[in-house]
């Protein structure tokens, strides 16, 4: 939204570094919590956004991430070994941001994602798990970073994604679930990466996201009338950016970070959002 100075930079970096788990070589979600790949990517994203990667022991973090790849190609979240395509995307995204993607076994990672493809064209959390819009995002975005979108059944997947739109204009994440603002990002990012963002009704979706905003506090809820939170505010704004909403900066749908940062790092992949409107 162009207000990167709204939060204190040093305080933010200080908090991120206080979550470092020196024993594991990764970040936890909060000081004194165990390292996990989820929090590790968040830490890297914050540090990249704040241009503070010099704070990071990159070699140790890379070692932590690479240690979590399993023989099947998927990644575990921590040393206890539970696997999920979210963790695979995180590994690919983080290694890419750190310029260390060449150390990943790409073939195995892609092979695992292929195993997760369902008959509806979508992807789930593990091989055989139901298609889920957020899991579709992580698989498609990982394939985009790895330049392997050729393995996606694009038409079938985009049908399924476009069928997530309900009469209210909002999107759901699975059949017959309620619409939820966060899927504006999970679905739109995938459609944007596959250059099919016009397959949903953008005007109705924009109106739905705006209707979930609490005009007094400014935040966005999962759906109109509910309590607002940071999570849905983030993904609501991300969705609006991809829809070309006026006054927002461009969002890179592959990394879910400001497009200018990803472009400056030379990591931009092919994707297409709606053109930014002037008003």
């Amino acid at each position: 939204m162009g207000h990167q100075d709204a939060l204190d930079r040093e305080e933010m970096i200080g908090f991120v570094m206080s979550c470092w788990d020196d024993e594991a070589g990764g970040f936890g979600a909060h000081p004194d919590h165990d390292a996990h790949i989820l929090a590790t990517l968040s830490a890297i994203q914050v540090l990249v956004t704040q241009d503070a990667l010099d704070m990071l022991d990159v070699d140790r973090v890379v070692k932590f991430i690479l240690s979590l790849q399993q023989p099947s190609g998927v990644f575990a979240g921590d040393s206890f070994g539970e696997v999920d395509t979210r963790f695979l995307y995180i590994a690919v995204n983080a290694l890419s941001l750190l310029g260390r993607l060449s150390e990943l076994d790409v073939e195995k990672a892609v092979a695992y994602i292929r195993q997760c493809q369902n008959f509806d064209g979508g992807y789930g959390a593990t091989a055989g798990a139901e298609s889920h819009a957020a899991q579709v995002f992580v698989c498609v975005a990982a394939l985009a970073i790895l330049d392997r979108l050729d393995v996606v059944d694009q038409e079938t997947l985009c049908w399924w994604l476009s069928e997530r739109q309900l009469p209210s204009g909002g999107l759901n994440g699975r059949p017959e679930k309620l619409e939820d603002v966060c899927y504006s990002f999970w679905v739109l990012s995938s459609l944007s990466i596959l250059n099919k963002i016009t397959w949903i009704d953008s005007e109705k979706l924009t109106a739905f996201i705006l209707s979930a905003q609490d005009l007094e506090t400014g935040g966005i809820a999962d759906r109109p009338g509910d309590m607002v939170d940071v999570f849905h505010t983030h993904f609501g704004v991300a969705g609006l950016s991809l829809l070309g909403y006026p006054g927002l900066v461009d969002l890179d749908p592959v990394y879910c970070m400001p497009a200018s940062i990803i472009e400056a790092k030379g990591l931009k992949r092919k994707w297409k959002a709606l053109p930014r409107r002037s008003e």
């Binding site: 004194d32 798990a129 069928e163 309900l166 699975r174």
Partner: protein
């Protein structure tokens, strides 16, 4: 009453109740003041501000919140004393500290089922043989009985880790099927009773939280493990076919009673595909006899306003289609085309608010099918 009880005492009471492995747990609105009377001297009052009847535990939300805040401090302090992965394990943990760690983590996990660090602390205690894995499975089953916990991926992950850990501890390596390991995460059930209990737990979790993604994924892991076990040694478990039939029949009934639950539809289709991919004529026959395409078609005819059922009918032919062409044609001509051509405003079935009209589902079915049959168009 709850307001006059000190937080540490309430916290300790909650820890002791959770340690009893309740049959069910429910988070109740408010602080319990509505049903607790200070003059009450009955057994029920002993557990105030909690309700504890026939091993079923009710916890007022506000009380849980207070206990959680207390548990955060207790957990943080005690964790400094033990259980870091690098520390020496057996025999060096202070038993009192271990009990405090078990108690505080149980409250943290109940209030915040995604508390990875609390779950990890308990996994380490299992590895140190300071928590019996069977007791831990029982605790997690108590949590999963509650709607508040049933959908959390981390609890299902934790349960799978326990089942896998137990299998590796109890079964000598020679008895483990090929491929069983940390990443394959095959789950082995020592007895039919254990398996049935797991499936029962899953059905309940899917009932209290509809379209329960991680519960259905866990169910698939369980039944896939049985399948791979059967393929490794078909003569070992003659009951496999009986279990498979019962499972598919049971899920078909489930879908009939939960017509908007696509998670169940996905499960039954994926399981059928897995079984068909085994290339066993015998197993193929089991699946054929279940007539799942006919089941899907009958359900769509009955409830055409449900997207989940249309997807069932759309995807089933991709699995069973080559053998069922005539049935699909008949369905399309007698039902789908007439429905698709109806004006949606005059549809007799448009009873589902907030959903596409049934005629639109029919239209989608036809357009998707045309593409599948003629991919070049």
């Amino acid at each position: 009453m709850s307001l006059s009880t000190s937080t540490p005492a309430t916290y300790e009471l909650l820890v002791s109740l959770l340690a009893k492995c309740p049959k069910s747990i429910e988070i109740l609105p408010g602080d319990g003041a509505l049903w607790i009377h200070s003059e009450d001297s009955s057994d029920e009052a002993t557990f105030a501000p909690f309700l504890f009847l026939s091993n079923n535990l009710g916890i007022p939300q506000k009380v849980l919140h207070q206990a959680y805040i207390h548990a955060v401090g207790v957990f943080k302090e005690v964790r400094k004393l033990s259980t870091r992965p690098s520390q020496e394990i057996q025999g060096k943990d202070n038993p009192a500290a271990v009990q405090i760690l078990i108690g505080s983590s149980s409250v943290l996990i109940l209030a915040n089922p995604s508390h990875q660090t609390a779950l990890n602390a308990r996994k380490l205690l299992v590895k140190k043989k300071l928590i019996d894995p069977r007791t831990e499975l029982c605790f997690i089953a108590s949590l999963l009985s509650s709607q508040h916990c049933a959908k959390h991926a981390e609890l299902w992950y934790h349960r799978r880790w326990l089942l896998s850990y137990e299998a590796h501890e109890t079964w000598p390596p020679a008895r483990l099927p090929a491929g069983v390991g940390e990443t394959r995460r095959d789950l082995l059930f020592a007895s039919q009773t254990d398996l049935q209990q797991e499936l029962g737990l899953l059905s309940h979790a899917c009932e209290v939280y509809p379209r329960n993604y991680f519960a259905w994924t866990h169910r698939l892991s369980c039944v896939r493990s049985l399948l791979s076990n059967h393929l490794t040694n078909p003569s070992k478990d003659p009951n496999f076919v009986v279990i498979l039939r019962r499972e598919i029949d049971g899920i078909k009934r489930w879908i009939e009673h939960h017509v908007s639950d696509y998670s169940a539809v996905h499960y039954i289709l994926t399981l059928s595909r897995d079984v068909l991919q085994c290339k066993s004529l015998f197993l193929e026959e089991v699946i054929d006899k279940e007539g799942m395409l006919a089941h899907a078609i009958a359900l769509v005819r009955e409830y055409p306003g449900h997207e989940a059922l249309w997807l069932y009918a759309r995807i089933a032919p991709l699995i069973f289609g080559t053998r069922e062409g005539e049935q699909i044609e008949q369905f399309v001509e007698s039902f789908v085309r007439p429905l698709a051509s109806q004006n949606s405003t005059t549809s007799a079935w448009d009873d589902v608010a907030n959903q596409l009209e049934s005629s639109e589902y029919a239209g989608l079915y036809l357009s998707r099918r045309a593409k599948i049959d003629n991919p070049s168009k």
